[in-house]
């Protein structure tokens, strides 16, 4: 039988040990529950981002009951230029439905790329989407960005290809956020279905077209945006939103 040898414990004898002790105490106080998942998404950071976005926008959501609770899905949204719409939608949906929601289309340069990764951003690459869907993730994919919130951009069929191949439901969602007030709305529609199942890449092309049409119709159904000012009476198409 071996003897247990007690090694001498070192106290706060050196400046380095003292500094280490202070750092440990500070980090355990402020970063205790900090963790990231296998894609680099930081849940605590997402919660902070959601609180910050709720200061700016009071978002009304609809159709969230259509989204699967555990299974993979893709939500296609209209986006506006310089608004990081996918980021905001992913953060808002994540808080609303209580499961991690990732968005496609993060940059890959620091610090913006690193920030986006913490929020659940994925690169706009089909293989990245395949991997996420294989792990049952819920993804937000944006149409190409437009300057006018009432206009709908184009949908990249390559980004929907993985969903078509894996028979993952694709939900169109219309997003409208006011520039001048706190009003914002995210409305999710039932999953898209094409008339016939294609064997080749025509499937995603048709699905992309269908997503654009559906989102345009939903934005039309939203009616004009209201700024609460006489601007609402002016005849331009976006009505100030």
């Amino acid at each position: 039988m071996g003897d247990v040898i007690e090694l001498p414990r070192r106290g706060l004898s050196t400046p380095v040990a003292t500094l280490q002790s202070i750092t440990q105490a500070a980090s355990s106080r402020f970063l205790a529950s900090w963790s990231i998942d296998e894609w680099g998404r930081d849940d605590s950071f997402v919660r902070v981002a959601e609180q910050l976005t709720s200061v700016r926008w009071k978002t009304v959501t609809g159709g969230l009951e259509l989204l699967p609770v555990h299974r993979p899905a893709v939500v296609v949204v209209n986006t506006r230029r310089f608004r990081l719409t996918q980021w905001w939608v992913a953060v808002t949906l994540s808080a609303a439905i209580g499961r991690p929601v990732r968005f496609v289309g993060r940059p890959d340069t620091a610090p913006l790329g690193a920030l986006a990764r913490r929020l659940g951003g994925l690169l706009a690459r089909p293989d990245e989407i395949v991997g996420a869907l294989r792990h049952g993730e819920l993804l937000v994919v944006g149409l190409s960005a437009t300057l006018d919130s009432r206009q709908v951009g184009t949908c990249d069929p390559a980004l929907l290809g993985p969903a078509v191949e894996r028979r993952v439901p694709v939900f169109p969602a219309a997003v409208l956020a006011s520039d001048s007030s706190r009003t914002a709305r995210i409305e999710v529609a039932p999953a898209l279905t094409t008339r016939r199942r294609r064997r080749g890449p025509l499937g995603e092309v048709e699905l992309a077209g269908l997503a654009e049409t559906e989102i345009a119709a939903m934005l039309e159904a939203f009616g004009g945006a209201h700024t609460g000012t006489p601007l609402d009476w002016l005849p331009w198409p976006s009505g100030g939103s």
Binding site: L7, P8, V16, L19, Q20, S21, T23, Q24, S27, S28, L31, W34, S35, I36, D37, E38, W39, G40, D108, T109, A110, P111, G113, A114, R117, L122, L123, R125, D127, E128, G131, R134, H135
Partner: protein, 326 residues
């Protein structure tokens, strides 16, 4: 496909921590018959059945003679020198390349050969801008660091030999291997009292414990796996998180100061090779979703738990001599 009993196994790189662990695992397997090990250092643990030979990777003739005489059914090639683990990057690259050509080349001459398993790493995927965040086994090999290029070279050599002589080739792509006796440059850096991290990026990375890495090689050999497999622990961690968990002092760095950090870290005994630098700047993840299907087990420890264990290993405590004798 499972191996028939009485298989002769050749383990190149048996002297290293991973090699000794793999050999110890293989000794317990019922399907393993005789076992031969070759390395430049003796094995680090007690092996009962294995026959071991010290041989330099440059000694092609001796390795060829040993391997031909043994005529293995399975070769597990672990002769890989990670830069700044046991050798400087230049020597590590040369030793790895020589070992691959001599051992795999010699194995190709053996008529009994049924399967080749090689040690690779997720460094082969590369971390170029726009590269996939979590590449799976089907992702293109596009290494962006020295170590990744060395590993990719081994994979190509093994695959070419496999195609030529018609035997299955498995590449076990490990995350950064950490273990109490593994001379890992990443582990060494993280255990320093002051640890640098990228302030603007602080990307996530995943690691694997040496025990699970070793298990994957044994399983790949037994199953005669014929494709690559990513082997790493679940989850991810960033350098700052690791520093926090280890109670180390974080040193935030932005750009040119990394040169100074590399220098200081090298002087302090933890040189930073380019693949570790890439990990700290760009992260290193991979999809291990097929581990269960390909090697028959999923990792028991998460990346965070492996990092916690890294900090739990006792440090060397130097006690002055009570009496000066010389």
């Amino acid at each position: 496909m499972t191996a028939r009993p009485g298989r002769r196994i050749l383990v190149s790189g048996m002297g290293g921590d991973l090699g000794s662990r793999v050999a110890a695992h293989l000794e317990r397997e019922a399907w393993v018959g005789e076992m031969l090990g070759i390395d430049t250092d003796p094995p680090r643990r007690r092996l009962k059945r294995a026959e071991f030979h010290l041989a330099s990777p440059y000694d092609h003739d001796r390795i060829l003679a040993l391997v031909e005489r043994f005529n293995p059914h399975v070769i597990v090639h672990l002769s890989v020198w990670e830069p700044f683990s046991r050798a400087n990057p230049k020597t590590a690259r040369a030793l790895t390349s020589e070992a691959a050509s001599s051992t795999l080349g010699a194995a190709a001459e053996c008529p009994a050969l049924e399967s080749i398993v090689v040690r690779s790493g997720i460094e082969v995927y590369g971390r170029a801008h726009g590269a996939p965040t979590r590449p799976d086994e089907s992702a293109a090999i596009a290494p962006t660091c020295d170590f990744g290029r060395s590993l990719a070279e081994i994979e190509v050599t093994a695959r070419d030999i496999g195609l030529r002589i018609g035997v299955p080739v498995a590449a076990v792509r490990l995350g950064s291997v950490l273990g109490p006796h593994v001379p890992s440059p990443l582990g060494r850096l993280l255990r320093q009292p002051f640890v640098p991290f990228s302030l603007l990026a602080d990307p996530p990375f995943a690691v694997v414990e040496d025990v699970e890495g070793a298990r994957a090689f044994v399983s790949a050999a037994e199953r005669r796996l014929d494709e690559p497999v990513n082997v790493l622990a679940e989850g991810a961690i960033t350098a700052l998180q690791a520093i926090r968990r280890g109670g180390r002092i974080p040193v935030p760095l932005v750009g040119p100061d990394w040169r100074l950090a590399k220098l200081v870290s090298g002087v302090a005994g933890a040189p930073i090779p380019d693949h570790v630098l890439e990990t700290l700047h760009r992260g290193r993840l991979a999809d291990n979703g097929r581990m269960g299907e390909l090697v028959g087990f999923t990792p028991a420890l998460t990346t965070v738990e492996v990092i916690d264990k890294l900090y739990a290993w006792p440090s060397v405590i130097r006690q002055p001599a009570t009496r000066q004798v010389a």
